[in-house]
Symmetry: C2
Subunit: 346 residues, 2 copies
């Protein structure tokens, strides 16, 4: 079966000079793939020609006349640039011309446009952003939400847990991934009211055999790999991710790129050669009626290719169908009952 | 003037084998200091003898018959071990036998016992834990709260900002330290309701010339050194700190200790030799009627000595008096008006 991925080729810090070589390289690795390259037509054709790829039958160009800048406010992306490469790439998913979409464009705009075009899945109140972090076990830790939702209720975190579980299961081939709830300690009495109420919902699911809830985890557990999935609200997730990236930036003179590159540098020194850090590019926008993946804005071609790979795998493993089915099964009522914390007692 | 510091010599992972050599070394550096060593008397005397320091007139031993273990619940430390080295060291501050106290014991117990013995400062609702992080500018970033308060109201964060500002000013000799409020973005519309309401309080103080409020900062700004002080609730602070430490632990095989040691290792590779990472030991318990400093539990003697130095400097620079005075000046009403967010409009 052929899997089609639409690529916002204009997004990110480097645009077509990164996205086009990544697309060409990906196709060489993946015979089942077809890529729809979205952007300013003449720019894309010129870049393709440069790489002698202008007649590749598995690469097509879809014209878009505008580009969402990295610092464009969400409103501009949403209301004023209706023919942006980002928008057209997402439209392709909605129209069935692509199975999934990839963009390195600005996160806020990508989430807003995706939500507007694709709409939210039934039973999901709010989409979330899920990223992968490397851990000591050499497996990825999936972490969500990374900033789409700053003020959360327990039923939102509950939905994030379910979506994270489904994504991990489908992408990593693990039947019942372990779910950790980020907290300031592991004892039951620890934490905010939000965290405690969420834990009750997750424990109830665990008891019914629906979710594999491990319990509370702490900040360091993300990198220990204590659980497959770590759930938190978007405020905590965003601050944590940026703080970790900040430590990396602190050492930019020694290790010149982002966190993952730093990890790469360190891995080269140390004995932990279990993973290739650049392969951790590609965050999922989860909970939409369609698959959208976000690449790091500063990604190079090698790293952007991994974001395409993530989108391709998600389409190949039917993540969308599994998400819809399992969300409906696991939480048929949550979106109808905002006060879903009433389930706590059960 | 002689400054007396009481030291909980039994606390931390290593106890007297770390705390006693640190104390002896500190005295050699600091002629104005006297140290009160608190713990099991025969153990301390034996350790002193080992280091030929049993007749140093500036070292005295204060006997305590119990020890708070690193995993003792708060209740045990508070109610069942009333003659613990931790408790007796804090009692010494209350009784005026010491100007400040240092412990490497468990944080929850140290906060609870300090609060019980010393009480909270007038106008302060909740004490906070303030730590120093290294940054690219080669200066420290003070960050609070680090976990004492997980569910916060705007007036709590407001008080943390004031306490952080006073501490930074006194300890670092900076007149009007810049205050950043941790958020998911720097635009005014970003953030949780808590963060937005806190920003209103801080902006009002800024306009009245009372606080130097910079505005919102993000996770990476901690390590950039964008502001002198970074304010957040204890949940976010705790998770962030542990995540950053978790990245360090991830590389333990290459860099065998905690975050700061890792930073040390990296600094040795890179060109950023602006600071000595182990000197970043010693978190302040702020907002009590007395000075209490918390060392990292795993600190070695060199690092523990820095925590003693922090306590000594805080006493020398009259941090306690400055805190009391400025808190009373800056927020005369906050503790009386829990809904202090009514100031927002002002």
């Amino acid at each position: 079966m052929t899997i089609k991925i639409s690529i916002d080729c204009m997004g990110g810090d480097h645009g077509p000079s990164v996205t086009i070589p990544a697309a060409i390289s990906f196709l060489k690795q993946e015979p089942e793939a077809e890529l729809v390259l979205v952007g300013i037509e003449e720019v894309l054709r010129a870049e393709l020609k440069k790489h002698h790829a202008d007649s590749n039958p598995r690469l097509s160009v879809l014209a878009a006349s505008e580009v969402v800048a990295m610092d464009d406010p969400v409103e501009v992306a949403l209301r004023r640039k209706k023919d942006s490469s980002m928008r057209v790439a997402i439209d392709a998913v909605k129209d069935g011309r692509a199975h999934a979409c990839v963009s390195a464009g600005n996160t806020g705009a990508l989430m807003a446009v995706s939500r507007y075009v694709l709409k939210t899945l039934a039973n999901v109140d709010r989409p979330a952003i899920c990223t992968m972090m490397p851990n000591e076990k050499g497996t990825p830790t999936y972490m969500l939400d990374l900033g789409a939702n700053v003020d959360c209720e327990p039923h939102h975190l509950h939905q994030f847990a379910i979506m994270g579980s489904v994504l991990f299961s489908a992408m990593e081939g693990v039947k019942r991934p372990t779910i950790g709830l980020l907290n300031v300690g592991t004892e039951e009495i620890k934490g905010t009211e939000l965290v405690k109420a969420t834990a009750s919902l997750l424990r109830a699911d665990h008891e019914r055999g629906l979710l594999n809830f491990y319990g509370y985890v702490e900040g360091n557990d993300i990198f220990k790999g204590t659980t497959n999935v770590v759930v938190c609200d978007g405020f905590v997730g965003n601050v944590t991710l940026k703080a970790v990236e900040g430590v990396a930036h602190f050492f930019k003179s020694a290790f010149k790129e982002n966190l993952l590159s730093m990890l790469g540098g360190l891995l080269a020194y140390g004995s932990l050669k279990k993973l290739n850090p650049k392969s951790y590019n590609g965050a999922s926008l989860l909970g939409l009626k369609g698959l959208v993946f976000k690449s790091h804005g500063g990604a190079d071609a090698f790293s952007f290719e991994w974001a395409i790979r993530r989108a391709f795998d998600a389409a190949k493993y039917n993540v969308q169908e599994q998400l819809s089915a399992l969300i409906a099964e696991l939480m048929p009522h949550d979106s109808e009952v905002p006060g879903s914390t009433i389930k706590q007692g059960g």
